[in-house]
């Protein structure tokens, strides 16, 4: 991607800079600020589809040269790394000490840590380890006017002032561009097992997750895939409506105990064990699996992220399936079953669905999810449709507070303008 001039949601970036240090990043941003240029921070470019179309994108600031591991202290379980490093690069370093950063977003080979933090990207393993906000403990950031600040440190426990790391994580580049990030890391599990269970319905798979937790099992991952999603992931024909994927990472004895216990309880929850994978096979499997929801099947695609509560999840799934049927789309559902986040990926031949129909369908699903206290974020959709909607769908009263924060940090509105909630 380097060397090509970017286009973000149809807005052509006029200029690019790739600073080699935090100081250079600050200089670049100060100059842009003084000239009144809008700025968009870009890491690996794996999430450029996320957000509303920018109002303007005069300067792309690439973090690709801020990529070294700055300080790694295995016996403190912390690592500081340049924001432009890819997750995979970092994991390779951590692996030498048998540790890892428990984040498993799509495209770890290209996704940068700065981008992951800005977009608050997560994957299935969040069920056990949480999201970016739970592991980011220190940050260095350059604000719109070129001012450099830091927050947090390399400590796992720290209540010295406001917890600014939380504010910056998930702020989509609207409060500043990160130069360095410090994370709490984890020891790698000695053994891993993955068990795939077949269920006749989403509800049955979901109920099984409750039974699994009540039986004292402590999975890393509880991921439910519908038949189409599972087929796309494995390339094999799937003979069951839903598959529940469980991953266990512990000491070997504890993994074995869990797999045995799972086999015992599965028949009472109406499931069938399809396959169980050992440590190495599991690692290989999940490497692929995490990117599946963003793997393009050709043609046009719509990617939705629906978050609801447990009680509303089956009804939400039903509506997502019916929506696909009405659109005559191939419907792939990927659900973080322990967190009740359902990614819906819809595919159909290019341009064959009217924009108005898409808007209406998305709005109807969003109305349902909002009515039960959830949300729908439209992660990918045809540009023509995106221009007519707000992809975040967030209208709570707290939005005014968010606008106030943005105004405090970026009064001229130069950072990633228009992309975030409420046009921030």
């Amino acid at each position: 991607m380097a060397g090509t001039i970017l286009e973000i949601d149809g807005v052509r970036v006029e200029r690019e800079e790739t600073p080699a240090s935090a100081a250079e990043l600050a200089q670049v941003m100060k100059a842009a600020h003084d000239a009144g240029l809008s700025m968009i921070g870009v890491g690996g470019g794996t999430k450029l589809h996320l957000g509303n179309p920018p109002r303007s994108a005069q300067l792309a600031v690439r973090t690709g040269r801020l990529r070294g591991v700055v300080e790694y202290e295995p016996d403190n379980l912390t690592v500081s790394v340049g924001a432009g490093a890819t997750l995979q690069e970092l994991q390779e370093t951590l692996r030498t000490q048998n540790q890892f950063l428990p984040l498993d977003p799509p495209h770890p080979d290209r996704a940068t840590l700065g981008g992951l933090v800005a977009c608050n990207t997560s994957g299935p393993i969040r069920f056990r380890y949480g999201t970016v906000r739970d592991m980011l403990i220190g940050i260095k950031i350059v604000h719109a006017d070129g001012t450099q600040t830091k927050a947090g440190g390399k400590l796992v426990k720290n209540v010295t002032g406001y917890d600014m790391c939380k504010l910056y994580a998930g702020s989509l580049g609207t409060l500043g561009i990160f130069s360095e990030l410090t994370f709490k890391v984890q020891p790698r599990s000695e053994a891993i097992a993955t068990v795939m269970l077949a269920y006749s319905s989403f509800r049955a798979a979901l109920e099984a997750t409750q039974a699994i937790l009540r039986a004292d099992l402590t999975p890393d991952v509880m991921e439910a895939l519908n038949c189409s999603a599972f087929e796309m992931l494995t390339g094999d024909a799937c003979h069951t409506p839903w598959v529940l994927l469980l991953r266990f990472g512990e000491a070997d004895s504890a993994v074995r105990w869990q797999v045995d216990r799972l086999r015992e309880i599965t028949h009472t929850s109406g499931g069938t064990v399809l396959i169980a994978l050992g440590t190495r096979e599991s690692e290989e499997f999940w490497q692929e699996a995490v990117s599946a929801r963003e793997r393009s099947g050709g043609g046009e695609e719509l990617l939705l992220k629906c978050s609801v509560l447990y009680q509303s999840a089956p009804e939400t799934e039903r509506r997502m399936i019916e929506m696909g049927e009405r659109m005559q789309a191939r419907t792939l559902l990927f659900c973080h079953a322990g967190n009740c986040i359902i990614y819906g990926r819809y595919e159909w031949p290019d341009g064959s669905r009217a924009a108005d129909d898409l808007l209406r369908e998305i709005a109807a699903l969003r109305r349902h999810c909002t009515s039960v206290g959830g949300h729908v974020v439209v992660e990918k959709v045809r540009l023509e449709v995106k221009r007519s909607m707000d992809v975040w769908g967030y209208h709570a009263r707290a939005l005014e507070l968010m606008r106030g924060i943005k105004k405090q940090f970026d009064p001229k509105g130069l950072l990633n303008p228009g992309r975030f909630v409420g046009g921030i």
């Binding site: 202290e73 016996d75 403190n76 379980l77 048998n98 540790q99 608050n120 949480g130 739970d134 604000h143 600040t149 830091k150 927050a151 440190g153 400590l155 796992v156 426990k157 720290n158 209540v159 010295t160 002032g161 406001y162 917890d163 600014m164 504010l167 994580a169 998930g170 702020s171 020891p187 790698r188 937790l213 009540r214 402590t218 512990e250 000491a251 004895s253 504890a254 074995r256 869990q258 978050s307 509560l309 447990y310 986040i341 999810c369 206290g373 959830g374 949300h375 974020v377 975040w392 769908g393 709570a396 009263r397 707290a398 507070l401 968010m402 924060i405 405090q408 940090f409 909630v421 409420g422």
Partner: protein
């Protein structure tokens, strides 16, 4: 700007109209109980204390405060240790102790909905018959309230494995300093927008008043194993801690006490602690029963490798409780050792624990101040307790100098000013030791976005030069 005048009778009448006369305290003697929190070095009485029973009442009280531009300070159980709940510039203390109902336990989503006055331990007690609990466990958990835990981002022994309060909060209802009520975050995962829940937690009551919280419940671990390891030197104990972490073992808790602390605890609780050693570690492992024996063996092996003199494994729940009773009541037993004390809270990176602890003892010796020490060693969170007699000539000055020097040592080693007690009005002037002017200005911007008139708990966290009361 100078201090606000005390409350006019008309204002008190308005407050009584909201919560009833019995829930407004304005008599100087009654106010005395609210002049400080658990840390007693700093005191200032409020002009009134108001005890609301609902979020609506909180909003109306704050509206009155806004109308007359009176500062207000939210207060939970008052167990804080950094002067956070202290009405530094007078005004109204909003005591949330009457708002103590657990509204909902939702085990399918592993969430609890509570009012801010709910006592930390009561939530776990309510959830435990169903196999769940609220993981943050500050030593004060029998008395401290959820609202206070949120404000301070409370920790506790078990946050080594499970994280601090901020890792266990899903959503909040907050009355902003403007009097407006907003929902921060959402019960469904990944609420779009800035993580306002994240910035609110640990804001020490300066960004508004939480009137309802949705908290994460955790599954009770299947099994627990608690060990006690005694060491002839503090350094050996610290090195054992670093080594356990480096070996990839994540105990649920990893606590340390020094000789003076052990003796005081033993005298008070007769828990059977070895009193002829310089340090003990209490190490708790939890998780799947199948995983614990091997982990316990590795921990034991590591401790023995650092010259551990005595190693005990609690054989029953009673023995386990006895070990924890000693640790949890440790601070309370310090009264036996001294007339006055100062409980310090500082953090060092875990791999530099040994050198930091050694230096802290050196400078205390040099200053002629006795120390007793507790530490959440697994987190690098140190609690040296300074023992002294305030009546002695120049003692307070000596103590404050020593407190500052200890922080300096931690900061130089890459540590920080507070791990769990907060900055409050106790350490706000030390913030420059760690942060640049720009770093602090970024924090001030957050404050301005929430509370432009600086009515909500003024004079906390940031140095006073940032305050209009300066």
């Amino acid at each position: 700007m100078t201090q606000e005048p005390p409350l006019k009778p008309q204002i008190l009448e308005e407050l009584r109209g909201i919560v009833g006369a019995e829930n407004v305290l304005a008599d100087p003697e009654e106010l005395l109980a609210y002049e400080c929190d658990g840390g007693t070095l700093h005191r200032h009485p409020p002009d009134a204390v108001v005890l609301p029973s609902s979020g609506e009442e909180v909003a109306r009280i704050i509206a009155v405060a806004c109308k007359y531009r009176i500062p207000f300070v939210p207060r939970g159980a008052g167990t804080g240790l950094s002067g956070g709940a202290l009405a530094r510039f007078g005004g109204i203390v909003l005591s949330l102790t009457r708002m103590k109902s657990i509204r909902e336990l939702d085990f399918e989503n592993r969430q609890a909905v509570v009012q801010p006055g709910v006592i930390n331990l009561e939530l776990s007690t309510a959830a435990s018959p169903s196999g769940y609990y609220f993981a943050p466990d500050p030593a004060s958990q029998m008395v401290s309230s959820i609202g206070g835990n949120l404000a301070e981002n409370a920790g506790g022994p078990h946050c080594f494995k499970y994280g601090t309060t901020t890792n266990h909060v899903v959503a909040l209802q907050v009355v902003l300093p403007s009097g407006e009520t907003v929902e921060l975050g959402s019960r469904a995962a990944d609420c779009p927008g800035y993580d306002l829940v994240g910035i609110f937690i640990g804001s020490e009551g300066t960004l508004g008043v939480a009137t309802r919280a949705v908290l994460k419940l955790s599954r009770l671990p299947q099994a627990t194993r608690t060990l006690l390891a005694a060491f002839e030197s503090l350094k050996d104990a610290c090195d054992a801690v670093s080594s356990i972490i480096a070996r990839g073992i994540i105990p649920a808790a990893l606590e340390m006490m020094d000789r003076r602390m052990i003796r005081a605890v033993e005298a008070a609780t007769q828990a059977g602690l070895p009193t002829d050693v310089d340090a003990v570690l209490i190490i708790e492992l939890d998780g799947l029963a199948a995983a614990l024996p091997l982990q316990a063996d590795r921990v034991a092996e590591t401790c023995l490798g650092y010259g551990c003199k005595e190693l005990r494994v609690a054989k029953s729940e009673e023995e386990r409780q006895a070990l924890w009773k000693g640790r949890k009541e440790a601070f309370g037993t310090t009264g036996r050792m001294t007339r006055d004390l100062y409980l310090h809270d500082a953090v060092a990176p875990r791999n530099r624990l040994s050198e930091v602890v050694t230096r802290i003892y050196e400078i205390a010796d040099r200053a002629g101040i006795r120390l007793a020490s507790l530490a959440h060693a697994g987190d690098g969170n140190l609690h040296p307790i300074l023992l002294f007699d305030i009546k002695k000539e120049g003692e307070e000055k000596r103590i404050l100098k020593l407190v500052r020097e200890m922080l300096q040592i931690c900061v130089e080693a890459g540590g920080t000013l507070s791990g769990e007690h907060g900055i409050g009005s106790e350490k706000n002037e030390y913030m420059d030791m760690l942060f640049s002017a720009e770093d602090l200005e970024a924090m001030q911007r957050v404050r301005m976005a929430f509370d432009p008139d600086e009515l909500c708990n003024p004079g906390k966290i940031l140095p006073l030069r940032f305050s209009r009361f300066h």
